[in-house]
Subunit: 362 residues, 2 copies
């Protein structure tokens, strides 16, 4: 089995193949009530053990959704946005939402002090997550470095895996990665210490090794803990604006951050790769290729909420009636509105940050 390094930034494009190789379930929006934009459009493309989550929603039983904040970055990106939108979806459908601040990993991997990580999380990341739709009153936040139970689980879990098993899952093994991985497994199972229940973790496919390791650990600790196996849901990457890889800092001109200065964001949108033909004449005649268009991808993943509108963009592009210039103008208008709204929401969320539901530890 091919292993994807969750610390790398390789683009995994052939999602069908990944579903097979990793033994995932193909995602179908029918599983969940009122699927969100990215579920409906196949941006959510796979999962593991989705049935227990589906059942928990239908039967109004307890379950949880969990994600983390890595407080090293100054900004977040569109990939994070999609994760949060899924956390929000499950939260709105009855899940207890947990957001951990990975300050311990930030210290260990990037040398960011715990104080600095705390400040960044409170000033930026948590308000950003709230701006993207998390309900702060219903979300439980904690700092990894303060959660002794998570640290204890991490130390305990380390004994449950061999080096070769770790290598088989991650393709690579070193002390730092091992510590991060068992810490993440601790985070993923922490909500179950009080009560066993299904939990869902929305991730990019590059994070699947963490999910697999956690599921292996659940199996290994069955007699002691009997944790309910965690479920996961996989999101396609948001591609870079030149279409060549996943959106990444390594190509700043092809990446839009959250937040980003509107002028800069619009300039990048204008330079995005489209599915346009060599000439206007050709495009009128043959129609555009929205499948290859990064502007269309941004519409689909992020900017256009209404399915009919998206469908109309697709059809008029295909028909050669919508040209790239006009299309980009729409995209820029959407982007400007999104970014302005995001920044305003963040400002508002900052003011509410003191009313967050933080776990406090003895």
């Amino acid at each position: 089995m091919k292993s994807i390094d969750p610390w790398g930034s390789e683009l995994a494009e052939d999602y069908g193949k990944i579903v097979q190789q990793f033994g995932l379930e193909e995602f179908t929006p029918k599983l969940f009530p009122k699927p969100n934009r990215i579920m409906r459009r196949g941006v959510v493309f796979a999962g593991r053990d989705l049935k227990p989550i589906s059942n928990a929603i239908k039967n109004k039983e307890k379950f949880y959704v969990l994600t983390g904040i890595m407080p090293t970055a100054e900004r977040i990106h569109f990939g994070t946005k999609m994760v949060i939108e899924n956390v929000r979806y499950f939260q709105e459908n009855g899940a207890q939402a947990y957001v951990l601040i990975a300050d311990l990993e930030a210290m260990a991997t990037r040398g960011v002090s715990l104080e600095e990580a705390r400040k960044r999380a409170l000033d930026f990341h948590i308000p950003a997550y709230i701006a993207l739709g998390l309900d702060p009153k219903k979300t439980t936040f904690y700092f990894q470095s303060e959660n002794k139970k998570v640290m204890h689980l991490a130390f305990e879990f380390a004994k449950k895996i061999t080096l070769n098993e770790f290598k088989a899952i991650y393709g690579i093994a070193d002390p730092g990665r091992i510590m991060s991985a068992v810490l993440q497994a601790g985070d993923m199972l922490f909500p179950q210490l009080e009560q066993r229940m299904p939990g869902i973790i929305p991730v990019g496919i590059d994070q699947d090794p963490h999910i697999r390791l956690c599921r292996d650990i659940i199996a290994r600790t069955k007699s002691k803990y009997n944790f309910t196996p965690i479920s996961s849901i996989y999101l396609k990457f948001t591609p870079s604006l030149d279409g060549e890889m996943k959106m990444s800092k390594s190509k700043p001109e092809s990446m839009i951050e959250l937040p980003e200065d509107t002028k800069s964001a619009l300039r990048k949108m204008k330079n995005a790769k489209t599915g346009g033909r060599e000439s206007i004449e050709m495009q009128r005649k043959l129609g555009g290729e929205p499948e290859k268009c990064m502007v269309f991808e941004m519409f689909k993943q992020h900017l256009v909420e209404d399915d009919k509108e998206l469908d109309n963009v697709y059809k008029t592009c295909k028909a050669g009636t919508l040209l790239c210039g006009e299309d980009k103008q729409h995209a820029c208008a959407y982007m400007e509105s999104f970014m302005d709204n995001f920044i305003a929401q963040m400002e508002a969320a900052r003011k509410r940050a003191d009313r967050l539901k933080f776990i406090t530890f003895k």
Copy 2:
């Protein structure tokens, strides 16, 4: 360089060779004022960076001595006793003494719950350590699982070493051992978080990999922490009573535990290997061989405090005037007195256990 696995139980006998191979300093009792019994008799055979400790004692500067309790065992053994005697020596000579209870490692390696580990440490190990001479009023105790700072250091340190470096030091690497090792490095440096100062760790040579790893980590984190390199002092093993290996549970008849039922302890002493000759006549003629005698080894390491008395045993044995039977009678008398006293001291220490100086963590 040969690596000794601190988790194994191989006997390292050729101490001279070890000093060379591991790049240790040979120990000389002149380094320290009023050296204790095991220092004077070469049972302490080597060290690392002993000069800063020697200077701290002479100049009455701050330094610390540290050891750990592994609360899995029901009893302790004579090797532990010597470690505690050295901790006591440095404590009496001005060191701040730290004793950590490795409940997190006990949970991780042996599946002992934190509650159970706490109970065992309070009921048995801590009173035993006090019975062996630690001053409870001057000793700082803490539970690893409660010490967030130690756990944070462990996670941070893991990123500072590669898998190959770990293998080079330990001869073996797996996630459990890695976690234990970085946790121990965290423990060893925890006393320096408040103030940089020399610190000495008395260990058996099998624990040297932990010392080397910690010293490597100190070098790697110099720019951030600038920890003072830790010093260490190495004790010879107490041999099994048949003289074939270090005293170990794998040979229960050749091992005396602390505490052990006096009858059982005396029976084992009576069966100990001596340096006696084939017949009494031969022994009268040639003299005995105290160098090969486990009874003499017990006298030297543990039972006879007075150097002159020990010297007298040696000489009369060599001269053939002291025979093994009589010698063992003395040994049994000493052992009985030691064991009775130890048990009484432990009982007394138990009653004082609530007055210990435990670190409490927020």
